[in-house]
């Protein structure tokens, strides 16, 4: 008897959310979009400036109190260059990095643009400690993608 072939059934999830950003997230994105400023939140106990901004400090478990505008230059703390494209994610290659912006105490993630990447040229072009500067999009919509990093 002929072996019956196993079949599959294709499904696709398409789900829409309208995520509440809350007061902290809303203010951060409004300042980014309207004024081109990157704002962190200071913890009154440990005095760290938290970026991305948070309404409370997880370490001290107290509410944060002040908005602090951080600098537009900083130091790469971690990076990777992605060479493999995945369906539903951006086209490779691209570089993303955690950067400690001047005046912030936690590193923030974003793209590093302006470098043509090959697997062989990665360590020559970026490392832990590389200085980068923030570049802002001209048309900002209140998203993290309103800014990115470039080599300083």
């Amino acid at each position: 008897m002929k072996q019956e072939s196993l079949t599959t059934l294709q499904e696709h999830w398409d789900i829409t959310y309208n995520h509440a950003l809350g007061e902290t997230g809303s203010h951060f994105y409004n300042a980014l979009r309207d004024e081109g400023k990157i704002l962190g939140r200071r913890c009154p106990a440990c005095e760290r400036v938290l970026l991305p901004p948070r309404p409370f400090c997880d370490r001290d478990f107290v509410d944060t109190t002040d908005w602090v505008e951080v600098g537009t230059e900083g130091r790469v703390e971690a990076f990777t260059v992605v060479f493999q494209s995945f369906r539903g994610l951006p086209e490779a290659p691209y570089c993303i990095a955690y950067v400690l912006l001047d005046g912030a105490d936690t590193a923030v993630l974003n793209y590093v643009r302006g470098i043509d990447w090959t697997p062989g040229n990665v360590p020559q072009n970026i490392g832990v400690g590389t200085r980068v500067k923030v570049a802002f999009a001209e048309e900002r919509e209140g998203r993290m993608t309103d800014f990115w990093f470039e080599k300083a």
Binding site: W13, Y17, P52, D58, V82, Q84, G88, L89, T106, L109
Partner: protein, 391 residues
């Protein structure tokens, strides 16, 4: 607390195939564990389901789909989910069920079909919040490439060290009949494999595996009812890190993303509970959760298998080989099979097989005690279990 013994272990062959549905895989794991324990589903008082993100299998609240496949109708059943650590968390919950005296015999079971969607990294990108970090995009590869970069900076790890881990684990995986990848590689093969997310290459990475696994835990006084030499769960530990990877960097960090103090915390809690004084001497086999080669190196030092400045030298000297004096991942580890929902359970199962002397070709001589670990989230949730041959 009552003693908790491992009465049965069941694994299916892990593969890239999607020839069985999710309930069929759970059913296969359940049948295998019952056969191994030479018992029936009637002896199981409660079921713990080991199940990671629903989107991998494509059914929300997926545990309801498998109530019948694991024989849980009419029984207490709960699902445990801590990402990559899910399997070890599920074993811990099952152990608490037994240790508390609430239930005598508990089955922990799960399965995954990671290859089924083909979009696993897109799904795993959704474990980040949509506000600040999802768009970049983070996923489980990029988050651990950041770890590799910081570990290189801090300890001098090279791409060759990563390749050496991969070569070792894949060699071990060839001895494990359940491993998904059963192929040896050379250091040159690994270094020459496709770059995925610098410095992680294709052969530094785990496969997307389908398969199921199950364990039966029972109260210590019941071990005579089951066929195998008993293995006992002697120590348990769990700890978590902050959500924010960017907080694990810079001068004000408390924790470095290169390391995992929470893994250290989990492991040492498990050693203490097990009454272990000198874990390097008293533990003979180490099943450390590591989906990428770089992760095995930090796990080795974070569970205290050696001092941080010794890790790379010991790797070069072969100390972590299956015939070395500190064998790590004799089963081939996660690099040879990663059915996400049960991967960390398989670490405990492999530790138990070593203690019972049932690991077959990858058996290490004279294992009395073994350590299993799991890691989930953005390098965030850590679990450790000590399995021993005595109480």
């Amino acid at each position: 607390m009552r003693e908790v013994a491992i009465a049965g272990i069941g694994q299916t062959k892990y593969s890239g195939l999607t020839d069985q549905s999710y309930p069929e895989l759970v059913r296969a794991a359940t049948k295998t564990v019952l056969e191994d324990a030479e018992t029936t589903i009637d002896s199981v008082d409660a079921v713990v389901v080991s199940m990671a993100p629903d989107a991998i299998i494509g059914v929300s609240h997926g545990e309801r789909w498998i109530v019948d496949a694991c024989g849980a109708a009419g029984k207490p059943m709960m699902r445990v989910h801590t990402g990559g650590a899910t399997g070890i968390s599920a074993v811990q919950v099952a152990a608490y069920h037994v240790a508390s005296g609430m239930y005598d015999t508990v089955m922990v079971v799960g399965a995954d079909r990671v290859g089924e969607s083909g979009d696993a990294q897109t799904i795993l990108n959704r474990i980040w919040d949509p506000f600040y970090e999802r768009a970049m995009p983070l996923n489980t590869i990029t988050m651990l490439a950041f770890q590799a970069v910081r570990f290189m900076e801090k300890y001098g790890m090279t791409e060759e060290h990563m390749a050496a881990v991969s070569v070792k684990d894949h060699k071990n995986g060839c001895k494990n009949p359940y491993a998904h990848v059963q192929k040896e590689f050379t250091v040159e093969d690994v270094l020459g494999s496709r770059m995925i997310s610098w410095p992680i290459k294709l052969y530094d990475s785990c496969p997307s595996s389908s398969g199921g696994a199950a364990m039966i835990l029972t109260a210590g006084e019941n071990v005579g009812r089951f066929p195998h030499k008993p293995a006992y769960i002697r120590g348990l530990g769990h700890a978590s890190e902050t959500y924010w990877m960017g907080d694990r960097m810079g001068p004000k960090k408390e924790v470095d993303h290169a390391d995992s103090p929470a893994l250290t915390q989990a492991a040492y809690a498990a050693y203490k509970m097990a009454g272990i004084q000198d874990h390097r001497r008293e533990i003979q086999a180490w099943e450390l959760y590591a989906p990428f080669s770089n992760i095995e190196l930090h796990a080795i030092q974070d569970v205290g298998l050696c001092e941080p400045d010794e890790t790379l030298k010991l790797l070069e000297d072969g100390a972590f080989d299956i015939d070395g004096d500190r064998p790590v991942n004799p089963s081939g580890g996660v690099l040879c099979a990663n059915p996400i929902s049960v991967t960390a359970m398989v670490r405990v199962a492999e530790a138990a097989l070593q203690v019972q002397g049932r690991a077959g070709e990858h058996q290490i001589d004279g294992v009395k005690t073994a350590l299993a670990t799991g890691i989930g989230g953005d390098h965030q949730h850590f679990g450790a279990v000590v399995v021993g041959d005595g109480r």
